[in-house]
Amino acid sequence: MLRIAIKMLVDNKPRLVATIVGIAVLFFLSAAQVGLLFGWCLTTSAIIRHANADLWVMARQTPAFDYGTSIPEARIYQVRNVPGVNWAEGMFMSWSIWQRADGRRVAVELVGLDDDCVGGPWSMRQGRVEAVHLPDTVIVDELFLNALGVHEVGDEVEMFAQRAMIGGVSRDVRTFTASPFVFTSIKSARKYDKRYADDEVTYVVARCAPNRDPEQVCKAIEANVPYVDCLPSRQFAVLTMKYWMLETGAGITVIVTAALGFLVAAVVISQTLYGVTQDHLENYAALLALGFSRLQLSSAVITQSFLLGTGGTLLGSGFYFGAARVSSRTPIPIETTPAIFTGLVLVSVVFCLLASFLAVRTIFRVDPGDVFRG
């Protein structure tokens, strides 16, 4: 029956090719949307995930990493005194205006690092992260050199009328907000955003003592340190992702587009299979008369659906990995994990199988007696 199913499908080659290409494009659309969503989630939480900290202490009701507000620097010392905390230091996060040499201004996210540079860039193309502690020195990412109007280490710009010199160039530090991250020391950062007092920071990042549960330590911090919220890194990353993906609506748009992609792919397959089945009604009637069961014929239709889905998904995967490769060096990467990609393939194949419903229903309406009616 498999041979019959395949040959029936291949019988009309232009339709077969058009269907597989259609499914491939729709799979690519859906997978790319999910890949973008995943890439955005990784981008929004990148600094938190790469900070190698267990806990983040912040002003109450902080909605996301990018919107932290000031807390007294004294909170660092208070956190260090909480039982279960092994290490803690400050971190500065604010928005500033970067003035290029040509006079154009660019909004940037300013990240001020403490002594251990926790929360700094995790991959450097040029220079070292520790360069942020040099006077008036900043690190920017290679993806945004053009946007920031600089080219290499040693270039100079201004932020809030203060001199800033490029001391290093990072790699793969993207931003979701379109405002590039600029890393410097906490001390320099306060100069570049005058809204912060000299004794204020945005976050206290901390590590727990060995074998201590971050959630329990967070509760202890909230009980002992006034006016702060404390979140384990994972929760803070999720909070930030949720803020950007759900509260701004960006993620929902992407999810809806991905779902629509799968749905349209299912409709395309459904129409094709229905068309193929309708074209071969006479042949199905003959097969029924010759002793093939409806179950066998239905399995042929489901096999055809599976083959169409698999063909389209394979081709679409090729498009997807090509696009992912091209986008990997851009500010908007299409990313995935083996688990997510496998999930996408499974969803695609399930949709394809569901699409065979109409055609299978047709099989159950074929009358084998039709072969006697000419």
Partner: protein, 222 residues
């Protein structure tokens, strides 16, 4: 081999029931070559559909190869069609996307024959029907006569006990039709099967050793 007793069949028509078969009784043994003739609408195709387990009678009993057919059991009807019945249709109804050989092979395979048996059988049957050169051809490339000969091969490949042929010459010219029926009768004779053919063409009657006339829902042997 083929027994039917008091088969009745009717269809609803315009709010009342139209009786097509009014108690058909037949008994055919191996080697019988039967032809059923009768005017259009007399119930020839309905009778053939019932004998071929494609249609259930309203009442009556059918026995094929000594096996009573329970028309309420669809799986039994499929199984009987698969193993015990061969069909030759008016329009050969070969699957156009398969080669001639694949068309025949599919039926043999579905009947449960193994690959070796199928290969031997196909070689023998194709030789006997002089269609060995058509094996790799598509039905689209073949003439009506060639297609009908392959349809005969398909009908007998799994050694059915009954071969049912519905107007096997209607889509062919006289020469090809005549040749097809002669071949059909020959191979069915060699296979010791029962052949039941429905035809309008009185010139073909000479090929059959049993002739039935169906009229007003009843069958009479002539």
């Amino acid at each position: 081999m083929l027994r039917c007793q008091d088969i009745r069949k009717g269809f609803p028509e315009g709010g009342r029931r139209r009786e097509i078969l009014r108690g058909v009784t037949l008994a055919c043994d191996a080697g019988d070559k039967c032809v059923v003739v009768g005017p259009s609408g007399s119930g020839k195709t309905t009778l053939l559909s019932i004998l071929g387990c494609l249609l259930s009678p309203c009442s009556g009993a059918l026995e094929i190869d000594g096996q009573p057919i329970c028309h309420s059991s669809k799986s039994q009807m499929v199984s009987v069609r698969r193993r015990h019945i061969g069909f030759v249709f008016q329009h050969a109804h070969l699957l156009p996307f398969l080669t001639m050989e694949e068309n025949v092979r599919a039926v043999a395979h579905n009947a449960g024959m193994n690959r070796r048996e199928i290969n031997q059988r196909i070689a023998g049957v194709f030789d006997r029907l002089a269609i060995a050169d058509l094996r790799r051809k598509s039905p689209r490339q073949a003439s009506g006569g060639e297609r009908q000969r392959v349809a005969i091969a398909r009908a007998i490949i799994h050694r059915p006990s009954i071969v049912l042929a519905d107007e096997p010459t209607a889509a062919l010219d006289w020469e090809n039709g005549h040749a097809a029926v002669r071949l059909l009768c020959e191979v069915v004779d060699q296979e010791r099967a029962v052949l039941v053919t429905v035809t309008h063409d009185p010139r073909l009657l000479a090929f059959f050793n049993r002739r039935f006339r169906i009229d007003q829902g009843t069958v009479v042997e002539e």
